[in-house]
Structures are given as C-alpha cells and as structure tokens.
C-alpha cells in the first residue's frame, strides 16, 4: 500500500525492492529494476512461502476486483490469541469495523442488490452497537463472554474509517463507497465465508435466509465483490467484469449463465453499481424498476434520514 503523497516510500512494486536486495547482496554487480523478471519474483515468493508456512503465514495473491491488477500480500492464515495482539486499534474500534463489515456483507448485500460496499454515512451509522447487543452469544467451546463494545463517537468512527483506507484494508471509490481491498479479501477470505455464509437457520424469517452472501467467480474462483450476476436474481452465478471473456471462451463462446444457462445479456451489476444504478431488469421483476425489499426500504429510509 503506498502512502499517498509520500514518494519516498513507494514500495508497491517488487522490481525496485528485489533489485535493491540483489544489489545489496552483490554490490559489485548491481541489479537494475528492469533486470528483475516475474520469474525471479515468483521464485522469491515460493521460497518464502516454503519457510513461513510452518508459522501459518502465507504470501497470497489475488486480482483487484476492478483493475485486474495482481496484488500480493502476506496473510496470517490462522487467527489466534497470539496474533490478535498485533493491531493498532482498540477492541472497540475493531468491533466498529466488524459492524461495518456486517453492513457491507449483510445489510447492503441482498438478493436484489449485492452492493457489498457502504458509503461513509452508512458506515458511520455503525458507530453505535445495535440495541440489545449485550453479551455476545458465544457458540461452542468458548465459554468466556465478551464485554459489550462501547459506541464510538461520530468523529472517532470517521477517523477509524479513514485509517482503514490509509492502512489498505478498505478502498474508497470515486463515488464514495467503501469496499474491501484485495489485501483484506485475501486476509479475511476464510472468515468472510465462515461468518456470512453460515446462515444455518439461525435467522428467523429473513428473506435472505437462502441467500448465500459470499460468492465466487465462475471463471477465476475468487470472491466477487464487483462484477456481474445472472439475470435471474435467484441464480447464484457471478463473474468478474474482466473474467467474462475467459468464461465465454471456456464455454465455447456461448454467453450464457454457467449455472442455469440463461442468456447472459445486460447482466445486473454486483458491487456499488447495484446501489446507484439499481438492480437492472430481472426476469422476475417489473422492467427497469427496482424491486424493493425490506432491507432496501431500510437502506433508502436511512439515507433520507
């Protein structure tokens, strides 16, 4: 993650770093950034992973949801008591961030509109813990009870939000939507699935009961937070915008849904577009009009509030 406006520390590209490392190793034969190849880089990554995997660390890579840029990050593959100390944020701030993630992946991620992003306003509404969230209900073996988390003030929440962007966990789009960065998606991959896809009937009569919240691209298998979806809103097929060509190619050129075979035309958007463009024409809804579900009502109600 480059620090904005601080050119001295732009270390987002591996070539200069590897060149500097190799030069330090053999100063008589300095290496230039252009001498460093993708293969060199991958060699380093593989060598590192061989050694650090024993400690539950891994360098993973993924593609940016929009730009398709390949991003690498060192992630912690298990979260445990030991590494939970490694944070610059207080427990209350972390609790706030988790509520923002809930907003991203539950509140603003419905069958009609899979936004998976929140505006600042929507995020700031999470500053206070919801009513009645006293002790967390702990399942399973953990018998300890966590203290209820304190509310953050508006300005505290705002600054945590900004820090999340600066630290590289969130990305802020031109239209003001916060979404998870590639780095965050890599680090939180397992947790996202475990947390949001495990509905297990605990919810009562939410219409999202059957809705799988975290979905994967039919082409590249990575999480989709920005992309396209099947015109049938009930179908779970998703694909990144930059993966469609590969998908069609793998289907012999047929531009149809890999799951239900419906024609893949004017596919509704996944991501913030779903919020401000509205869910497009769906096979089971009035043309061009956005179907309003209870959470949509709440969403727009909140925005007007």
């Amino acid at each position: 993650m480059s620090d904005h406006g601080d050119p001295a520390y732009d270390n987002t590209h591996p070539k200069p770093i590897l060149a500097a490392i190799q030069t330090a190793q053999t100063p008589n034969r300095p290496t230039l950034p252009e001498d460093v190849s993708q293969a060199d880089f991958e060699y380093y990554v593989d060598a590192l992973n061989t050694h650090i995997s024993a400690y539950d660390f891994e360098i993973r890579s993924t593609h940016h949801q929009v730009s398709k840029e390949r991003i690498y990050a060192l992630v912690n593959t298990t979260s445990d008591a030991l590494t939970q100390m490694a944070t610059v944020h207080t427990p209350d701030e972390i609790a706030f961030v988790k509520r923002v993630l809930d907003a991203m992946f539950e509140t603003y991620n419905t069958q009609v509109a899979e936004v998976m992003a929140v505006t600042s306003m929507q995020a700031l509404k999470c500053a206070r813990p919801p009513h009645g969230e006293q002790q967390r209900r702990d399942s399973g073996n953990q018998t300890q009870v966590t203290a209820p988390s304190a509310a953050l003030t508006g300005s505290q929440a705002q600054s945590v939000l900004e820090l999340m962007v600066q630290e590289g966990w969130f990305e802020l789009s031109a239209k003001g939507y916060h979404s998870l960065s590639p780095r965050a998606l890599m680090e939180l991959h397992g947790w996202l699935v475990e947390t949001y896809n495990d509905q297990g009937g605990e919810d009562s009569d939410e219409e999202d009961d059957e809705h799988v919240k975290i979905k994967f691209c039919a082409a590249c298998r990575e999480i989709v937070t920005v992309g396209q979806r099947c015109t049938d809103l009930g179908c779970g097929a998703r694909v990144h915008n930059h993966c469609t060509r590969n998908l069609w190619r793998s289907q012999g050129g047929k531009e149809e849904c890999p799951t239900c075979k419906k024609a893949w035309t004017e596919a509704p958007a996944v991501g913030e577009k779903a919020a401000w463009q509205g869910a497009r024409q769906a096979t089971n809804g009035p043309n061009g009009r956005r179907r309003r579900s209870p959470s949509d009502e709440a969403q727009s109600g909140a925005e007007e509030g």
């Binding site: 030991l82 944020h89 972390i94 953990q142 939180l188």
Partner: protein
C-alpha cells in the same frame, strides 16, 4: 438485524483484538499451574514422539508471539511466554526458547534480545532493594525480550526496508524519528535529562504541546506512549525539604536495545552531515564523551551489536532543527 452470535469470538480482556481478522476459536490453553522453578529448566524430559510435536507447536507459537509483540512494540515477557506458549509445560522454557531463537534467526533474520531491567534510581527504589532479598528485586534471568534485526548493514536500506505500514508508513516514520531523537537527547545528556531541559528541547522542536503523529497529537500522550513502549523512562524523585518532585528522563529498556549507542551516533552523524578528517574524529570524541564512554572508546566498533529493527535512522524535518549539544552550550 443479523444475529451476531454466530460470529465466534475468543474472549480477550487484556489484549487488543485483532485487526479485521477472523476471531476463530482461539487455541488458547487455560493455564494450570505456573511453574515457579524456571531457573532449573532441564531439556526435554521424556523422549517420546508426543512431546516432540508438542514442543514443535510451542516453538511455533513462540515465534508467532514474538512477531506479534513486535508489531505492537510490546515486550515479550517471560510470563506471557509461560501462559500463552508453554501452558503447563513450564519446564520446557529453555529448549523451546532456544529453538525459537534458531528459527527466528534462520527464517526471519531476527532474534530475541533481553531487555535490561529498569534501573532503580530513586532513593525510594533503592530502599526497596535493600529491604527485599536479591532474588526478588533483581532476578538474574531476564524478564522480557524484544526482537532485533540481524540483517547485515547493506540490507538496512530504505529501498528494501521502508518503515512498516503500522498504521501507515508516514506515521511510523514520524514516530521512529521522534523517539530516536528524544532517546538520543537523553542519552547524550548522560542518560539523565531533567524535565525542564526536556521541555526546552521540545519547545525548540515545536513539540511542546502538539505532535504531528495522528492519535498522539498531544505531546503528553506521545511521551506516555514512548514510556509505555519502553523508549523513555520518567523518573520522579522526591527531593528537598518540601517534598518537591524532581522529574527527569532516562532511556528506557527498549530505547537502549533498539536505538542504543549506534542509533544515537547515527542520528548525530546525520544531523552534522558529511564531515571528514579532523572534524569527524572530533565529533566522534564529543559523542563518546556525551554518551559517557570515555576517550578510549572513540572508533566505531566492528562487533556490530544488534541493529534496530524498525526503519532507517533517517532524519526528517524535525530532526534537522535539533541541536544535539552538550549541556554547557544550552
């Protein structure tokens, strides 16, 4: 409202919760009895395969613990190791520790270094020592450790090792430069800097009230953080008939290990810029004298002590204005 119960969280009272990370079931073992006799640690007691894999697990945990602590600038306390890593296997401290050191060195290029105990300087503290038995007040075994980088000097280049993004590189760079500066000021004053002098220096640096570090914009808060992290120590001594308080600053344990003499020298050199020949020798002599090293030890030592792990010892805007002078010129 979505049910939050399904998000399992391991409880943690005394530590920070993770960064947006899954709080899966913690593998934290409840500690049974703390083994009080750590001093006579033997090697692995039994030789069966079970204890070997347990030992491996413990070593891995210790490595992860050390890295996590370093991230937050927490000292790795022996107590913490016993609780979080060894659990009931308290007798295994030494072998686990040594094995972890080997792995930290070979895989991560770091090692754990003892943090010196805080010195007992005030009268009250010294009286406290006299009253207690020696084993209680100053244990011979180290109580805490910190990670230190073993990377050779050519690799300690900002192009290779920029300041870590904790939370951002810019913030980390600012913090590093400030504590390096303040530690150097204290060290060059013979490791004891009266609070009045400290305030004067801070005023010269434009830091008497506010600092540029986000989250620690009040100077008081920043100094508290430096104390908490072990860079500085604030010493309060009741002196004089009226019971007035003399406040002074000393270099804290982490300041000694992370910044150390090398860091101070580096800063002075950076501020003075390129000098050679006679001027360089003269500067070295003055630095050595200020650090209380005596004229005999002027040349840079070749047995390079562990280097500071974080970031380059760069000066930034603030440091350039610092005048690192001895007391007479104050």
């Amino acid at each position: 409202m979505p049910a939050l119960g399904r998000k399992r969280r391991a409880e943690r009272e005394d530590e920070d919760d993770g960064s947006p990370e899954p709080a899966t079931q913690g593998r934290r073992r409840t500690t049974q009895n703390d083994n009080p006799s750590d001093e006579d640690d033997t090697g692995y007691g039994n030789g069966n395969g079970d204890s070997d894999s347990n030992a491996e697990q413990m070593v891995k945990k210790l490595v992860r613990l050390a890295l996590a602590c370093e991230y937050s600038r927490l000292p790795i306390r022996r107590q913490m190791i016993r609780e979080k890593v060894l659990g009931s296997a308290g007798r295994q401290f030494k072998p686990v520790f040594e094995q972890a050191q080997l792995q930290l060195r070979s895989v991560f290029g770091m090692e754990m270094v003892e943090l010196p105990e805080k010195e007992k300087v005030t009268l009250a503290q010294k009286r406290g020592i006299a009253a207690k038995t020696q084993s209680q007040s100053q244990s011979k075994t180290a109580q805490s450790y910190t990670l230190v980088s073993l990377l050779p000097a050519p690799f300690q280049d900002p192009a290779i090792l920029p300041p870590p993004s904790i939370p951002t590189q810019a913030t980390e760079a600012q913090y590093t430069s400030l504590y390096t500066l303040l530690v150097s000021l204290v060290a060059l004053s013979g490791d004891e800097l009266a609070d009045t002098k400290m305030e004067r220096y801070l005023r010269r640096l434009g830091l008497e009230d506010h600092t540029p570090i986000p989250g620690y914009t009040k100077t008081e808060l920043l100094l508290k953080r430096m104390e908490k992290e072990g860079y500085l120590v604030k010493v309060r001594e009741i002196a004089g008939g009226q019971g007035e308080e003399d406040v002074s600053w000393m270099v804290g344990p982490r300041g000694k290990v992370e910044v150390g003499e090398q860091g101070v020298r580096g800063l002075v050199k950076a501020v003075y810029g390129d000098v050679d020949g006679y001027a360089e020798a003269e500067l070295e002599r003055r630095v050595a004298r200020s650090l209380g090293l005596g004229d005999a030890v002027v040349a840079r030592r070749d047995d390079i002590p562990p280097k500071k792990k974080r970031g380059p010892r760069r000066k930034n805007g603030e440091a350039e204005e610092a005048e690192v002078e001895s007391d007479e010129e104050d």
